[in-house]
């Protein structure tokens, strides 16, 4: 994978968009001064060290940062590790910009010797501001590993994911992700039907698989009681 492909994919991951959808990064480089709405995605094999550096970086960035979201997941397999900085969903060329955040991110990339290929790295994201709100991608997690991302705009069948006890098979139908088949006995997840709104999820407890729709929930919900 060349660097351009990687950047496109990472930008897409950070934006909560699909891995394969083209991203208009080259057309619109964001100005880092509007950075109070940003998303910093890092693929690394040293998550703790990286996070400590990022915390330090943000605290002394001079930005008015109130509330940040932190997410992380394991990425099984071989991945090109790097750092992607987005502002207002646009790619920031941090090598070329002279703000303290851009410089800090550039230095961090050098310190972590990125980009380079890593086995089973950790993906982490720190974001501020609005962030992505579009529910166009379903993220599939097995335990705490991000094992798949599916675009909801195209109908698909037989998306199989290996779980703890067996297989789960997903389908995309009319913009919803649903479970076609689950290997467990009680089929709670099959009975649930399809989901399509950001923040919604389907969970299979026996297989330790969950599917979430990327983005912030429209009602600002933190959790679901049931």
């Amino acid at each position: 994978m060349d660097r351009r492909t990687f950047l496109r994919q990472m930008a897409a991951v950070a934006a909560g968009a699909t891995l394969t959808r083209p991203f208009g990064a080259a057309r619109a480089l964001a100005n880092v001064r509007e950075i109070e709405d940003f998303s910093l995605s890092i693929i690394t094999d040293k998550p703790d060290k990286t996070m400590a550096a990022v915390e330090n970086l943000l605290q002394y960035s001079g930005l008015k940062l109130g509330n940040l979201r932190f997410d992380e997941a394991l990425l099984p397999g071989v991945h090109m590790a790097d750092i992607v900085l987005l502002s207002h969903n646009r790619l920031v060329n941090y090598k070329a910009q002279e703000t303290s955040l851009a410089r800090g991110v550039y230095e961090l990339a050098q310190k972590l010797e990125l980009p380079r290929q890593l086995d089973n790295p950790v993906w982490m994201n720190i974001s501020a501001g609005q962030g992505p709100s579009q529910g166009q991608t379903a993220n599939i997690y097995q335990k705490n590993a991000l094992v798949g991302q599916i675009e909801l705009t195209k109908d698909r069948h037989n998306i199989a994911v290996a779980g703890k006890r067996g297989e789960m098979v997903f389908a995309i139908r009319a913009g919803c992700v649903e479970v076609e088949h689950a290997s467990c006995k009680h089929k709670t997840c099959v009975k649930m039907g399809g989901i399509r709104k950001p923040g919604q999820h389907i969970v299979c407890i026996p297989n330790e698989i969950r599917v979430t729709i990327a983005g912030e929930n429209a009602l600002g919900l933190d959790s679901l009681a049931f």
Binding site: Q59, F70, H186, Q200, V203, I205, L219, D222, S223, A225
Partner: protein
């Protein structure tokens, strides 16, 4: 949905609600210096046979993750202690020795059984941790096919459900099940206790603002950001992808018992996992009951009990209760006090929204 007009004139409910409001206000909101950003950190693990989520706002992601790790470990520890299906757990050992010998257990296990027996006593046996044999006969105790048990067998098993046959000795913290075949099942209390323990660990570790969700039961502490309380959606009992309501909580536990979490439709009837200890059959008065209480254990137990006995019984005994509840009865009608709705910023989400 209808509001209960008689309850509006009930001083008990007004004063109860005022009590909760005062407690909520008594917690200071954390002020946020702009220089120190707060991170919203979340983590998920599959424990206690369900999904456990932690969400917290904290100035340090790493410190928060350390606290999460310790709290997850605590849930594992409590789960191992109280899970009747885990070989050699203290509960499994008590069950194994039913009718034979009293079993020495840690004070922690002893104390939770003692509390469960107090609940059983005050709930007149409608909450009973000796429900184990009946739950097992239905197949609700694992990844098994649910089936209606043979009537004769169920009749025999229901005879084994009797909390008065659980004999405790405080001096040496022993537990004895007097009848062979008795089985303890702490399903109605263990999850709540585990949530409370995890909450205590997070607080000890310096995380003050968090929400724990274990299989739909919640404990919320502090605030999300600034003075924003944690915002929770309540799943609709008949439309899994819709919300029934949203509400906001802080320093409060919320537990729901519903007939939709684990169930099987057999000949058009819904057979679910909340068994009436008196009949041996799934309770039928409600679709769901949501309880607000100071601790997750209290919320968990009350939700199970109220799901079985229903709204009328709750009204009859509300003189001494320290909790509040919202019912969705068998016909799907929502029933709760208006001041409960005021206290938690209830907004009913009829269709859409989520």
């Amino acid at each position: 949905m209808h509001w209960d007009s008689t309850a509006l004139h009930s001083n008990k409910f007004y004063s109860l609600s005022a009590f909760f409001l005062l407690l909520n206000l008594a917690q200071p909101a954390h002020s946020q210096a702009l220089a120190e950003p707060l991170y919203k950190v979340s983590a998920t693990k599959y424990l206690l046979g369900t999904k456990v989520d932690f969400i917290a706002t904290h100035a340090s992601v790493l410190e928060c993750k350390k606290a999460f790790y310790a709290a997850f470990q605590e849930i594992v520890r409590v789960g191992d202690l109280l899970n009747s299906r885990k070989e050699n757990s203290e509960i499994a050992r008590i069950n194994h020795n039913a009718g034979r010998a009293s079993v020495h257990v840690t004070y922690e296990t002893y104390a939770i059984i003692q509390r469960a027996l107090r609940y059983a006593e005050s709930f007149d046996g409608y909450f009973d941790i000796s429900i184990g044999p009946v739950v097992a006969a239905w197949g609700f105790d694992g990844d098994r096919e649910v089936a209606i048990p043979d009537e004769e067998m169920l009749g025999k098993l229901i005879g084994l459900v009797d909390f008065k046959s659980i004999v405790l000795s405080e001096q040496d913290t022993t537990v004895f099940l007097t009848q062979p075949g008795m089985l303890l099942d702490l399903g109605g209390i263990a999850k709540g206790y585990a949530i409370d323990r995890a909450a205590a660990v997070l607080q000890e570790q310096g995380v003050a603002h968090f929400l724990i969700n274990a299989g739909g039961d919640i404990y919320a502490s502090g605030y999300k950001f600034g003075e924003n309380k944690w915002r929770v959606g309540l799943q609709h009992p008949r439309q899994p992808n819709e919300l029934l309501a949203t509400f906001e909580v802080s320093g409060m536990a919320v537990a729901t018992s519903g007939d939709y979490e684990r169930f099987k439709m057999i000949d058009g009837a819904r057979y679910h996992h909340i068994i009436n200890p008196k009949t041996g059959f799934p309770a039928r008065l409600n679709q769901s009951v949501t309880v607000f209480a100071r601790s997750a254990e209290e919320a968990d137990v009350w939700a199970t009990y109220l799901f079985i006995v229903g709204r009328e019984q709750f009204r009859a005994e509300n003189a001494y209760v320290t909790i509040e509840a919202m019912f969705v009865n068998a016909a799907g009608e929502v029933d709760c006090e208006r001041d409960l709705a005021d206290a938690y910023g209830f907004a009913f989400q009829l269709k859409d929204g989520y």
